[in-house]
Amino acid sequence: MPGDDFFGILADPVQNLLIKGGIQREYLQEVRLRAGSPLFLRYQNREISLNRDGQPCRDWKDAYRIRMEEVRETLEYLSGYSMYAFEDEVKQGYFTIPGGHRVGLAGKVVAEEGRIQCVRQISFLNIRLSHQILGCAEPVLPFLIQEGQVSHTLIVSPPGAGKTTLLRDLIRLISNGVPGLPGRNVGVADERSELGGAYLGVPQNDLGVRTDVLDGCPKGLGMTMLLRSMAPQVIAVDEIGSERDAEALENVLYSGCKILATVHGSSLEEIKKKPLIRRMMEGRVFERYVLLGFSPRAGSVRKILNGQEETIFCGKP
């Protein structure tokens, strides 16, 4: 809603524009600021741009254009006037702000011997708003429980279809406990601060009362560290697929710990093209696959399959 905290992190002219246009915070998904280019918003699953009066305009040529000073001012607010505190995150091209929102950025990259030293003259910002949908995993969780235990689960979805949102809510439910499943200790290896949305080490999203979050740590290393130090019963990790994660995943699988993971893809056939995932599927590692899609809306569960890849739930088309 206009005037809530999120609007306060935008430069004053942009903030006023959103308020004039009656933009509601809960439907706002993304704000893109590019110096010299129109302001673009992703609002109610559509891309819109606003004119000087804050009204949506059809032709982007009529849209309000962002000035460099507005990008700088927004950066000041986003970083709490302390960009230096986010130096490591900026090198990776993003940082997380209070509320769990992710700020992607681009500008002039200074690299040395193939390693990024810093990003200067930041003139492109992509603010992705975190939307924690409490309870969105409630219909899914019963399919993931077998004999009072959480199954090894892989959530498969194309980008933007809600796999992180679903995983986040699954973590919360498993951690807090639901009827038929007492609360479990959950370890989260949150490499890109997307699950917990941690700001200065404190998760901004509700991940449950028995959840330990290792924030900003590479997934493979994070899983191993959690296993050694926090004795989790379930480990959750977002976007697996690289060979670097393989060894850590094996450690988790053969330690009696259950794994919840996500992977980019629109079908099982597609994800089988990734060598690590193919090996794991052939080894019948995962006991449940949850396939998400955009129909009828983003985050809809298309199918849930068991370890033998047989459908046990089919969503509405």
Partner: protein, 176 residues
């Protein structure tokens, strides 16, 4: 009343006021030196913070303020609160307000006052490389200003005190 005692009392008052005037001039020089020294220490501290511990600016300002005894403490605490609450707009505006409200240019002299105002760019910026460079330049500039202020205090401070006392004695001699 005995005219001698009356003159003696008047002479004493004259001497005291002249001497105190000299001392207050010396104190102002000392205060200016201390303010610049505290700013210098704060910039050096922030230089370390930006490259090592990465404490957020508001917290660094509060920690810096705890080490200060002069008006710099008030400036830093005021700015830290505005930054923490995010209610002051751009940092340049926050810093200007803090410096104008809590410090005032008569305490520091015009050159130092302008340097303090301009340090906003070094305290907060979106370009980390530039910010570090500006912080380093700022610290160097304040080191020079602090050195000048210290020399001023050492040389002119004592002079003012002595001149005040001498002026008092001179007036006493005239009146007596």
């Amino acid at each position: 009343m005995n005219p001698f005692f009356l003159r003696a009392a008047g002479a004493l008052l004259l001497f005291a006021s002249c001497f105190l005037f000299g001392v207050s001039c010396e104190t102002r020089l000392k205060r200016r030196w201390m303010i610049l020294r505290e700013f210098l220490e704060f910039f050096r501290y922030l230089e370390r913070e930006t490259s090592r511990r990465r404490t957020p600016l508001w917290e660094a300002m509060e920690l810096g303020a705890n080490r200060c005894r002069t008006e710099v403490r008030e400036v830093l605490l005021f700015a830290a609160e505005q930054v923490r609450e995010r209610k002051g707009g751009e940092f340049v505006r926050i810093w200007e307000t803090a410096v104008f409200e809590k410090l005032g240019r008569d305490l520091t002299g015009e050159e130092a006052f302008q340097a303090i105002l301009q340090s906003a760019g070094a305290l907060c910026g979106s370009d980390l490389v530039l910010q570090r460079e500006l912080l380093s330049q700022c610290a160097d500039r304040f080191a020079l200003l602090e050195e000048d202020a210290r020399k001023d205090y050492r040389s002119r401070g004592t002079l003012f005190r002595r001149l005040g006392a001498a002026a008092g004695i001179f007036l006493i001699l005239i009146f007596l």
